[in-house]
C-alpha cells in the first residue's frame, strides 16, 4: 500500500468511488433558509443542478463515500473487497469541512453521503449519521442531505439518520432476488425490502405529524442496475411499480451497468446502450405522471423490451391506434395525457385554454411546441386525420429522425 492519501487525494478517490450512484437529486426538502443569521444554507423544495459532467449528468450534491473500504464483494461494484482499487477513508470532520467549503461557494446544494461497509453495519451507519449530526447541529447547516442507509443497521440509527437527512435511500441494485443472490452474495433481498418498509412507515408517520420529529421529508429512493443481469424491461418496470406502490418511493433510479476498472469476471463484458436507461426513465415517468399502469406500457409488445428508437408513449400509441384520434376540445385529461407529443404541463394549459376557446391545430402547436408528432392522433376544430392512423408507415412519419444519435 502506498502512503496515506491527503485529504485532497481522498476527495478524488472517494468521489470516483461514489459516481456509479445515479441519484443526485436535491428536491423535496422542506423549505427553509438561514435568514436568522445563525446557520448556512437553504432549501427551496426544488433541486438545483449546479453543474453538469461531460456526460450531461446533473451535479447537485457533493456525492462521496465516507470510505471505499468494504467487507462485501458485490460483483458489479468497484469498491468490492476483491477489487484492487486505491482505498481511502475520510474522517467525519473532513466531510463536514468539505461540504461547508463547497456550499459557501455555491458549488453544491448539499451532501450525498454513502459508504463501504467497514467493521459492521452499525459501526458504518453510526459514522454516516455523525456527519449529518455535525452538519445540522454544530454548523446549523440547512442545505440538503441525502444519506445512504445500510439495511442491516439498527432501527435506532435509521431513525436518527431520518432526523437529519432530507432523503434516505437503499439501493436495490439488481431487479430480481436471483440476480442479487448471484451478484451480491452477502446482500439479502428480504432484509432490503424490510428496511425499505420500515423507512416508508416512518416517512408516512412523520409527514402526518408535522410538529413531531422529522423523518426524511424528501422521502426515499433506490437504484436498479440495468443490463448486468438478464432482466427485461417489463420485469424492471413491474418491480418499480411495486416499489412505488408498496413503499411509496419518491424515485427509482435506473443505472445502465457501466464498465468499471478492474471489473469482475461475473459481469457481462459490454455495457447496455444508454438509450435503454433513457427509455426506462421515460416509462417510469409514464407510471408516475401520466396514469399508465406498469403492465400497460409494454402491452402488445412482444419481447418485454422498450423500443430503443421511439419513446414509450409513442410506441404505446402506435400499438393502440383504436384509441385515437382524440378530440382535444372534449377529451378527458386522462386521454389527453396519452397523446404522443403532449406533456403534463401542455395538457393542463390546454384544459385551461379550451374553457375559453375552441382549439385549432395552430393552437395545439403553440401549446405543445410542435404539431408534427401529434397530428395523426388528434382532432381539432379544423383538423381530422383521415387515413393517417391506418397507414403502415405511420411510425416513420412520427418517429424523430435521429433521436438515437443523442446516445451514440
Amino acid at each position: 500500500m502506498s502512503k496515506a492519501p491527503t485529504v485532497r487525494e481522498k476527495l478524488s478517490i472517494l468521489a470516483d468511488a461514489a459516481k456509479y450512484d445515479a441519484s443526485c437529486a436535491s428536491s423535496g426538502g422542506t423549505r427553509r433558509d438561514s435568514r436568522d443569521g445563525k446557520g448556512l444554507g437553504s432549501s427551496t423544495g426544488n433541486g438545483i443542478c449546479h453543474s453538469y459532467t461531460p456526460d450531461g449528468r446533473c451535479v447537485s450534491l457533493l456525492k462521496i463515500l465516507l470510505t471505499n473500504f468494504c467487507v462485501y464483494d458485490c460483483a458489479y461494484c468497484i469498491n468490492r473487497k476483491s477489487s484492487n482499487v486505491r482505498r481511502a477513508r475520510f474522517t467525519e470532520q473532513e466531510v463536514v469541512d468539505l461540504t461547508l467549503a463547497f456550499y459557501r461557494r455555491n458549488y453544491i446544494e448539499g451532501l450525498f453521503l454513502s459508504s463501504g461497509i467497514i467493521q459492521s453495519a452499525d459501526y458504518t451507519m453510526e459514522r454516516l449519521v455523525r456527519v449529518a449530526r455535525l452538519l445540522r447541529e454544530e454548523h446549523q447547516f440547512r442545505g440538503y442531505i441525502h444519506l445512504k442507509t445500510i439495511p442491516e443497521a439498527s432501527p435506532a440509527l435509521i431513525e436518527e439518520a431520518g432526523r437529519y437527512a432530507d432523503r434516505l435511500s437503499i439501493n436495490l441494485e439488481l431487479p430480481t432476488v436471483v440476480g442479487l443472490q448471484h451478484f451480491a452474495p452477502e446482500k439479502d433481498a428480504g432484509t432490503i425490502e424490510a428496511a425499505m418498509g420500515r423507512m416508508s412507515g416512518a416517512i408516512t408517520a412523520a409527514a402526518a405529524e408535522p410538529r413531531g420529529p422529522r423523518f426524511a421529508p424528501a422521502g426515499q429512493s433506490t437504484q436498479v442496475i440495468v443490463g448486468a443481469d438478464g432482466s427485461d424491461d417489463a420485469t424492471i418496470l413491474d418491480r418499480s411499480a411495486g416499489l412505488y406502490g408498496t413503499h411509496r418511493l419518491k424515485r427509482v433510479y435506473y443505472s445502465a451497468f457501466s464498465p468499471i476498472p478492474d471489473s469482475s469476471q461475473a459481469l457481462p463484458s459490454r455495457a447496455p446502450p444508454l438509450a435503454r436507461e433513457h427509455r426506462l426513465y421515460q416509462a417510469d415517468w409514464l407510471m408516475r405522471y401520466y396514469g399508465f399502469a406498469a403492465g400497460e406500457i409494454l402491452s402488445g409488445a412482444t419481447d418485454g423490451m422498450l423500443d430503443l428508437a421511439i419513446d414509450p408513449k409513442l410506441a404505446w400509441a402506435l400499438r393502440h391506434r383504436e384509441r385515437f384520434p382524440v378530440d382535444v376540445n372534449t377529451a378527458e385529461r386522462e386521454m389527453l395525457l396519452r397523446i404522443p407529443g403532449l406533456g403534463v404541463r401542455s395538457v393542463d394549459r390546454l384544459i385551461a385554454a379550451r374553457r375559453h376557446r375552441t382549439l385549432r391545430l395552430a393552437d395545439l402547436a403553440r401549446l405543445a411546441g410542435s404539431e408534427r408528432r401529434l397530428r395523426p392522433f388528434v382532432v381539432t376544430a379544423d383538423h381530422r386525420p383521415t387515413a393517417l392512423l391506418d397507414r403502415s408507415d405511420l411510425r416513420t412519419l412520427v418517429a424523430p429522425p435521429r433521436q438515437l444519435a443523442l446516445f451514440a
Binding site: 476527495l11 461514489a18 444554507g41 453538469y52 459557501r104 458549488y107 478492474d262 455495457a271
Partner: protein, 277 residues
C-alpha cells in the same frame, strides 16, 4: 404616435404607471412606441423627437396619429396573474417586451379578463415564452454563480446573466448565505450583502471579478472524479450547460481534457477486461 419611455429598463412600477395612464386615455397598442432607456434601435426616426418635459413624466408626446375613436376607459384592476407575468417578462432583454405587455393589459381591459388562461393565444404564448426564458435564466444564475473567497467569511462572485435577473435572484442568495458577507457583480448591476442589508449598485466591468480562490482546484478535482468516461455525452452537456457559461465556471476548464480522454479511458476498462478474482 405616442411615446412611452422607461428610464430603468426593468422597473415594473414605472411600466405600470405608464400603462395605467395610457389605458385611462384609451391609447391603443398600435399607437404607442415604447422605449426602455437602452439603445433605441427600433424607434422609427419620425417618433424620436419627444419633448423632454413629456418624456420625463413618461407620458410621451401628443402627436396625433390616424383618427381613432377615443373612448375613455374606466380603470379596471389588472388580474394578479398579469402582475406576476409582467414582473418576470419586464426583466427580458428583448425591446418588444413592453409593447407586448401593454397589448396584453389592453386586451384584458377591453374585456378579455381570462386572456392569460388562454396559453394557445399567440400573444400569451409569446409572453409565456419570454417569462420562461427569464425564469430559466434566473434559475441558472442560482445554479452557475460561483463565489470566490476574498477575505475571512467574505465572498465575491462575477456573473453574466442573459436577462436582467439580479433582482429576481436576490432573495435566493440573501436567504441562503445570510451569515456570510458577499457581493454579486454583473454588467447590469451589483448586489452587496453585509450580513443584514442588501444594497443594489451599478454594474461593473468583467475585470472587477475576483481571482480564483484556493478551493477551485479541489472543486475541479471533484468534477473530474465524478465523471464516468464510459458515459461521455458532449451534446447533453452542451444542452444543459451551454458554452457561454463555461468561462465563468471553474470546473469547465476540465471539460475538453475529460472529453478527449474519455474514449481511451473507456477502452482501457473494457479491453483490460474482467480480472481473475
Amino acid at each position: 404616435m405616442r411615446r412611452a419611455t422607461m428610464t430603468v429598463p426593468d422597473d415594473l412600477a414605472a411600466f405600470r404607471r405608464l400603462a395605467r395612464g395610457l389605458l385611462a386615455e384609451a391609447v391603443p397598442p398600435q399607437a404607442i412606441t415604447w422605449s426602455d432607456g437602452e439603445a433605441d434601435l427600433f424607434a422609427a426616426p419620425d417618433t424620436v423627437a419627444t419633448p423632454p418635459a413629456a418624456a420625463e413624466d413618461g407620458e410621451g408626446s401628443r402627436m396625433p396619429v390616424a383618427p381613432m375613436p377615443i373612448v375613455p376607459m374606466p380603470i379596471v384592476p389588472v388580474p394578479a396573474r398579469f402582475v406576476a407575468l409582467a414582473d418576470e417578462v419586464i426583466c427580458h432583454r428583448a425591446p418588444e417586451r413592453l409593447a407586448l405587455l401593454y397589448e396584453a393589459v389592453w386586451r384584458i381591459a377591453q374585456g378579455e379578463r381570462a386572456l392569460l388562461e388562454v396559453a394557445s393565444d399567440p400573444l400569451v404564448h409569446r409572453l409565456e415564452r419570454m417569462r420562461r426564458g427569464v425564469s430559466h435564466d434566473a434559475h441558472r444564475m442560482t445554479a452557475f454563480l460561483r463565489f470566490r473567497e476574498v477575505g475571512p467569511n467574505e465572498f465575491v462572485a462575477w456573473y453574466e446573466p442573459a436577462h436582467r435577473v439580479l433582482r429576481q435572484v436576490a432573495p435566493f442568495f440573501t436567504g441562503r448565505f445570510a451569515a456570510m458577507r458577499w457581493a454579486i457583480l454583473t454588467p447590469d448591476g451589483s448586489l452587496a450583502w453585509d450580513g443584514a442589508v442588501a444594497r443594489f449598485g451599478p454594474g461593473v466591468a468583467r475585470d472587477a471579478a475576483p481571482a480564483a480562490d484556493g478551493l477551485e482546484s479541489w472543486w475541479r478535482d471533484y468534477y473530474r472524479a465524478t465523471f464516468n468516461p464510459a458515459r461521455a455525452n458532449e451534446s447533453a452537456l452542451r444542452r444543459h450547460m451551454p458554452r457561454r457559461f463555461w468561462r465563468n465556471l471553474p470546473e469547465a476548464e476540465a471539460v475538453p481534457e475529460l472529453l478527449s480522454e474519455a474514449g481511451r479511458r473507456t477502452a482501457a476498462m473494457t479491453t483490460a477486461g474482467p480480472d481473475q478474482g
